[in-house]
C-alpha cells in the first residue's frame, strides 16, 4: 500500500465513448513509468484525470494515500503532481521568466497586503521565486536563460517551448511529474538530449515521472516499467522488452495479422 500514486478501476466516458475502462495503475516513488499506446488510446485522458481536469465516471485515484477524486486541478498540483501538455500550452505573452515564476504560485503565499506594503517578507519571497525560477531554467543549459529570460514565450522555437513547459512543471515543486509526449516534434539529437535530462530529473531533482511517448527509443531508454493502453484498457504491463514483444501490443499497433482474418 505504499505506492506513491495508485489508481483503482478508473473509468471515464464521453457521451457513449469509453475513453478509459476499469484501469488499474500504480507508480512507486522514484520510478519512471512509460505509457504507450496508439493514437486515441486514452493516454492524455488518463493524465487529465490524474491532474483533475476531467472527473472520472467511476474509480479512485490515490496520491500518497489521499483520494484525489473531486479535486480541482490546482488542488492536485498543490499536493505535488505537475504536468505538461501534449499541445504545448504556455502563457505565450508572458516572459519566459514569468512563466516559471507564476508556476510557483501554490508554493508561495504573499498576498495583497505584502505587496502593497512592500514588506520584507514580500521582497524576500519575490527574490526566492526568481532565484528558484532561474535555477529551474538553468537545468536546460543556456537555452532559456540570459537574454531569453525577458522574452515572451511566443518567440521560442518548438523544442524550447517544450523545454519551458517542463521547466514550468518543475517549478511547482512536485513529487510526481506527468510528461505528455515531451519529445514530440523534436529532432533525434534533441530527443536524445531530452531523454538524458529526463533521467536527471529523477537522479538530481528526485522527481517521480510518468511519461507518455510515441518515440520508442525514448521510452526504452528511460522507463523502468512500461504500460500499454488501447481503447482505454491496459493491454500489457512490464519491462520495455516484455511489453514491446507482447502480441497484443503488436496487434494494437500494427493491426491484426492477415492470416487470422480468414
Amino acid at each position: 500500500m505504499s505506492h506513491l500514486l495508485e489508481i483503482d478501476s478508473l473509468s471515464v466516458t464521453f457521451g457513449g465513448l469509453h475513453a478509459l475502462k476499469d484501469l488499474d495503475f500504480h507508480v512507486d516513488e522514484g520510478e519512471i513509468v512509460g505509457v504507450i499506446g496508439p493514437n486515441g488510446a486514452g493516454k492524455t485522458t488518463f493524465f487529465n484525470m490524474i491532474s483533475g481536469m476531467v472527473t472520472p465516471t467511476s474509480g479512485d485515484i490515490r496520491f500518497e494515500g489521499e483520494s484525489l477524486v473531486g479535486f480541482d486541478p490546482n488542488q492536485v498540483t498543490q499536493r505535488g503532481i505537475a504536468r505538461t501538455f501534449q499541445n504545448v500550452r504556455l502563457f505565450a505573452n508572458m516572459t519566459i521568466l514569468e512563466n516559471v515564476m507564476v508556476s510557483q504560485h501554490c508554493r508561495t503565499k504573499q498576498g495583497i497586503w505584502g505587496s502593497l506594503l512592500n514588506t520584507s517578507g514580500f521582497r524576500k519571497e519575490e527574490q526566492e521565486i526568481r532565484e528558484h525560477a532561474e535555477k529551474v531554467l538553468g537545468f536546460f543549459g543556456s537555452r532559456l536563460v540570459g537574454f531569453r529570460l525577458e522574452q515572451p514565450a511566443s518567440v521560442l522555437s518548438y523544442a524550447n517551448r517544450r523545454r519551458l513547459e517542463i521547466a514550468r512543471a518543475m517549478a511547482t515543486s512536485p513529487k510526481l511529474i506527468l510528461l505528455d509526449e515531451p519529445v514530440a516534434g523534436m529532432n533525434p539529437k534533441e530527443s536524445v538530449e531530452l531523454t538524458e535530462l529526463i533521467g536527471k530529473l529523477r537522479s538530481e531533482w528526485g522527481f517521480t515521472i510518468v511519461l507518455i511517448e510515441h518515440d520508442m527509443n525514448v521510452v526504452r531508454d528511460v522507463s523502468d516499467r512500461v504500460v500499454c493502453l488501447d481503447h482505454g484498457e491496459t493491454l500489457a504491463q512490464g519491462s520495455f522488452e516484455e511489453v514491446s514483444n507482447d502480441p497484443a501490443v503488436i496487434e494494437a499497433y500494427l493491426g491484426r495479422p492477415l492470416e487470422k482474418k480468414a
Binding site: N74, H105, C106, N160, N187, P188, K189, L254
Partner: protein, 616 residues
C-alpha cells in the same frame, strides 16, 4: 494597366508608377458611397446642425461644419493610404492619389447634395426629426439649395483631394500642415477652458465667441513654424530617449515626471475657475472607477459589465451612514457618523458585496459572466429603486442632505469642487499605487496567467477562483472610493445615477485608454470624461452632450476594430491582440529561434516515430 507594368522595370526602387486616371473605379465609387452614407447619416442625426451655433473662427467656421466635413478629409487620406505588403511593389504616390481622393470626396458630396434636393421635394419629417429646412439650409451654407448642391460636391471633392495630397508632401511639411490645422481647431474648441485657465488669452477670441480670423492664422503659422523648425522632432526624440531608458536612469526620470505632474495637478485647480475645477473633479471620479475596472478587466481579464453596482453600493452606504434623510425604517441604534467613518465602513461593505456577487459568477465562462454581472448591476439598482426597500433607500426620491466630508482643516463638498478634486487626487494616487504594486506581484502574475489561459493556470497550481475573486474584490473596493466621494460631492444620491450606462462608459474609458495600462487609463478618462463628458456630467465640449453617447458607441467600435490595445497600449496586451503580426515581425527580424543549435530536422524521417527500436 499595361503602361504601369512597363514602367516597373525602369524604376530603381520597387515602386510602380500609375497614370493619374488609372484608377480602381469600382473601389473608389464604393468607398465614395460609404462616405456618402456616413455624411447623410451624420447630417440626419442633427449633430452638425446642432453644433453650428458654436463658432470656431468668428464668422467663417463653426464646430458644426467641422463635425461633418472632417469625414471626407479623412476618407480622402485613407483612400491614398495603400497598405504595402512585404515583398510587394508599392505604387508611387502621384497626382493619381489626389484624383482618387477627389473622386471619393465628390461621390460623398453628391450624397449630401442628393439629401439637399430630397429635403425640398419629399416630406418625411414624420419619422426623421431632422428632415427639415434648417438642416437643408445648414447643408447649403445658408445660400439656397442650388448653391448648396454644387458647393457640397465641390467642397467634399476638395477636402478629399486635400486629404489625399497630404501623402505627396514631404514628411516634414505634412506634419507641419497637420499640426497647424489641429492647433487652430484645438485652440478654437478649448476656448472656454483656455480663458478659464489664463484669462489674458481672451484677446484671441471675439466677443461672440470663436477665434478672431487674424489670430487663427497666427496660431496656425506658429504651429507650422514650430514643427518646421523641428519642435516636433525634438519632442519625439525626447520621448524615444525616455523609452529606451532602463534601470536607475529610468527610475530617476520617472520620479521627476511623477513629481512634476503631481505639482501641476496641485497647482492647476488653484488658478482655474469653478467650471474647470468641477470638470477635474468629475474626471477624477471616473478615473477612480476606471482604475478599479482596469484591475478587473485589464489585469485579470474578467469582463464585468455590472461594475456600476459597486459604485452604487459605495455611494449608498456612505449616504445611509451620514445623511439624516436616510429612509425611516432603519432601526434606532443604527449609527450616523462623519464621512471618514462611513468611508471605512463603505470599503468593508464594498468588499463584502464584491465577494457576494463575485462568488456565483466567477466560475462562469467569460461572456456569460459579462451578462450575469450586468444583471447584478441592474438588480442592485432595481432594489435601491423599489418600493420594497423604500423605507431604507427612499426609492426614486433618493437620499438627500448628505453632509460634506469634514476633515477638520477643510471640508469636501459639492459647492467647492476644488476640495473634491484634491480628495479625489489622494484616492487616485492610492488606486494607482495599488494597481502598480499588484501588477508586479505574485497576484499580478497569477492574474496575467488566468487572462492568458485559465485552465492551464489552474493546472499550474493557481487557484483561479480565489485569484479572480480577489481581482473582483479589489475592483469593488476601488469603485467604492468613487461612490463615497461622489455622495459627499453631490450631497444627494438617486438610483438614476447608477444606470448600466455608467458601467459601459467606464468600460469605454478603459478600452480607449488602453487596457492594463495606468497611463492609458488616465489619458482615457481625461480625453473622454474631460472633453466629451460623463454619463450625466458635462465635459469641456458641453455642446456635445446630446451626441456624446453616439460618439462613445462609435469610438468603442472603432477602437475594437482598429486599435484594440487602446491609445496608450500595454506592451503585453498589444502582443496578445496582434499575436500573428507580432510573430511575423519577430520572424522577419530573425528573432524567433528555430532549432538552430541542432542539425537538420529532416533526419526525423530515418527513425520511424512508431515502434522504431522495439516490437518489430
Amino acid at each position: 494597366m499595361t503602361l504601369a507594368t512597363e514602367t516597373t522595370g525602369t524604376k530603381a526602387s520597387n515602386e510602380v508608377v500609375r497614370g493619374a486616371f488609372d484608377l480602381d473605379w469600382r473601389d473608389l465609387i464604393r468607398t465614395g458611397a460609404i462616405l456618402a452614407a456616413g455624411l447623410v447619416f451624420l447630417s440626419l442625426t442633427g449633430m452638425p446642425e446642432g453644433l453650428d451655433s458654436r463658432v470656431l473662427i468668428d464668422p467663417f467656421l463653426s464646430l458644426g461644419y467641422v463635425s461633418l466635413f472632417w469625414l471626407p478629409l479623412i476618407v480622402g487620406w485613407s483612400v491614398a493610404n495603400e497598405k504595402v505588403l512585404e515583398g510587394m511593389a508599392a505604387t508611387r504616390k502621384s497626382a493619381r492619389d489626389v484624383v482618387a481622393g477627389g473622386v471619393v470626396g465628390a461621390v460623398g458630396g453628391a450624397g449630401l447634395s442628393l439629401l439637399i434636393a430630397l429635403i425640398s421635394t419629399f416630406d418625411i419629417r414624420d419619422p426623421l426629426v431632422n428632415w427639415n429646412e434648417s438642416t437643408q439650409a445648414f447643408l447649403s451654407f445658408q445660400q439656397g439649395t442650388s448653391f448648396g448642391i454644387v458647393a457640397c460636391i465641390a467642397l467634399c471633392a476638395g477636402l478629399g483631394a486635400f486629404g489625399a495630397s497630404l501623402h505627396l508632401m514631404p514628411r516634414k511639411v505634412r506634419r507641419a500642415v497637420v499640426s497647424a490645422l489641429l492647433a487652430v481647431v484645438a485652440v478654437a474648441i478649448f476656448e472656454s477652458f483656455l480663458v478659464d485657465v489664463a484669462d489674458p488669452l481672451s484677446f484671441l477670441y471675439s466677443k461672440t465667441g470663436g477665434l478672431i480670423p487674424l489670430w487663427a492664422v497666427m496660431v496656425g503659422v506658429a504651429a507650422l513654424a514650430f514643427t518646421l523648425l523641428g519642435g516636433g522632432d525634438r519632442i519625439g526624440k525626447a520621448r524615444s530617449n525616455y523609452q529606451t531608458l532602463t534601470g536607475p536612469a529610468k527610475a530617476k526620470q520617472d520620479t521627476i515626471l511623477i513629481v512634476l505632474s503631481v505639482l501641476a495637478l496641485i497647482i492647476i485647480p488653484m488658478i482655474t475657475g469653478k467650471i474647470t475645477q468641477e470638470l477635474l473633479a468629475n474626471v477624477g471620479i471616473f478615473l477612480l472607477l476606471a482604475l478599479g475596472l482596469n484591475i478587473v478587466v485589464g489585469l485579470a481579464g474578467i469582463l464585468d459589465l455590472g461594475y456600476v453596482a459597486f459604485f452604487a453600493v459605495g455611494g449608498y452606504t456612505t449616504a445611509v451612514l451620514t445623511s439624516p434623510n436616510r429612509g425611516p425604517d432603519w432601526p434606532e441604534w443604527f449609527p450616523t457618523m462623519p464621512w471618514w467613518g462611513a468611508f471605512l465602513v463603505t470599503l468593508l461593505m464594498a468588499g463584502l458585496v464584491g465577494l457576494f456577487i463575485g462568488a456565483p459568477v466567477i466560475r462562469m465562462r467569460g461572456d456569460y459572466l459579462a451578462i450575469v454581472t450586468l444583471g447584478f448591476g441592474e438588480i442592485i439598482r432595481i432594489l435601491f429603486l423599489s418600493d420594497w426597500l423604500n423605507g431604507y433607500f427612499n426609492g426614486a426620491q433618493g437620499i438627500t442632505n448628505i453632509p460634506p466630508a469634514d476633515f477638520g482643516l477643510f471640508e469636501v463638498k459639492g459647492t467647492d469642487p476644488r476640495s473634491v478634486f484634491y480628495l479625489v487626487l489622494v484616492f487616485a494616487a492610492i488606486s494607482i499605487y495599488v494597481s502598480w504594486r499588484l501588477e508586479r506581484s505574485r497576484l499580478g502574475r497569477a492574474w496575467m496567467a488566468v487572462r492568458e489561459d485559465e485552465s492551464v493556470a489552474e493546472a499550474m497550481g493557481i487557484n483561479t477562483v480565489n485569484v479572480k475573486l480577489m481581482a473582483f474584490v479589489v475592483g469593488a473596493v476601488l469603485a467604492s472610493f468613487a461612490g463615497s466621494v461622489f455622495s459627499a460631492k453631490v450631497g444627494s444620491i438617486f438610483p438614476t445615477s447608477f444606470l448600466i450606462l455608467v458601467s459601459i462608459i467606464i468600460l469605454v474609458i478603459v478600452i480607449v485608454g488602453g487596457m492594463g495600462n495606468i497611463v492609458g487609463i488616465i489619458v482615457g478618462s481625461v480625453v473622454l470624461v474631460g472633453i466629451l463628458g460623463g454619463p450625466k456630467q458635462p465635459g469641456l465640449l458641453a455642446e456635445f452632450s446630446e451626441y456624446k453617447l453616439l460618439i462613445y458607441g462609435a469610438l468603442l467600435i472603432w477602437m475594437m476594430l482598429q486599435r484594440p490595445e487602446g491609445l496608450v497600449p500595454n506592451a503585453r496586451r498589444s502582443r496578445e491582440l496582434h499575436q500573428d503580426e507580432f510573430l511575423q515581425d519577430a520572424w522577419l527580424k530573425g528573432k524567433v529561434d528555430d532549432a538552430d543549435e541542432n542539425g537538420n530536422g529532416a533526419e526525423n524521417g530515418d527513425v520511424a516515430p512508431g515502434l522504431a527500436g522495439g516490437a518489430s
